[in-house]
Amino acid sequence: MRKVYSRPKSLKRNPFHYCPGCGHSIIHRLIAEVIDEMNLRDIVVGIPPPGCSVFAHHYFDIDMAESAHGREAAVATGVKRTAPEVIVFTYQGDGDLAAIGTAETIHAANRGERITSIFVNNAVYGMTGGQMAPTTLSGQKTTTTPYGRDVSLEGYPIKMSEMLALARGAVYIERTAVSSPANIRKTKKAIRKAFQAQIDGLGYSLVEILSACPTNWRMSPLESWQWIEKEMTKEFPLGVIKDVTGASDAN
């Protein structure tokens, strides 16, 4: 018998504080696997957000620096322009990247900053208790839309990936999900491709990952994963939204 799966080296042995079934845990692990496989630990800097993943540095065994809410793209820009040899990625939630951080995200993409954004979309503000986020679905009940999101008052779920694809500096944008074995595998591939786009110096890359928040969705872990597959993907279709990297999918 040989061991075919164990914890990636770039992931510390600390137990996750995330809720059972939370997508953060999976995404952290996938990023750590990619860092291991691409040998990036020595030159990677991660910029985590305020939010449930503010403790990301407890889990990733890499250099990390917290940012103010929403400003990760600007912080990453400062790091990358100063030290272009560093591989820098931001790790942001939907409120972070698509509400308070919209300007910084769009302009970093527009300037083609050679950074990678991991955009964890769970349709709520998780850490603060489940308030409406820019990506909350129409009709979805949250603590600040207790009667369900009314698009005539609260606007429509925002499609950041599609919007960012218009930025000419953005070279690779894909939307995936961590809601099934197949989708988890695709997410890992997408993260790899996004990092590769940065290594190749091509421009801004982003992976939007639909992620479960069982606690704030008031569902069991399995139900929340199924809700992504059945409901979220209707509003946020999975797939490559933009790829001008010219790389094949052979990797």
């Binding site: 018998m1 799966y5 992931l11 137990p15 059972p20 845990s25 074995p181 988890i184 399995l222």
Partner: protein
């Protein structure tokens, strides 16, 4: 674990770290062989965990490890 063909019925097995497992049971729902079951024992954190049952059906496909949010599963394949 012995190598060789003496024990061909066991193709794979998993070890679930009982203190990392949070009992989300996603591994159980995705296991193609029903080789994982829910435990009735609480771990130190108060979660009802899962364990490899004695059906002997595990093939070491590692889907459980792929979906486990807690990185609680190590997979072995013969």
């Amino acid at each position: 674990m012995s190598s060789g063909k003496t024990d061909t019925s066991i193709k794979g097995y998993i070890e679930v770290d009982q203190e990392l497992c949070k009992g989300c049971q996603i591994c159980i729902s995705f296991c193609p062989k029903d080789a994982i079951s829910a435990s009735d024992k609480l771990n130190v954190s108060g979660y009802l965990t899962v364990f490899l049952n004695d059906s002997g059906q595990c093939t070491g496909c590692a889907i459980c490890a792929l979906v486990c949010p807690e990185v609680a599963i190590e997979v072995y394949r013969g």
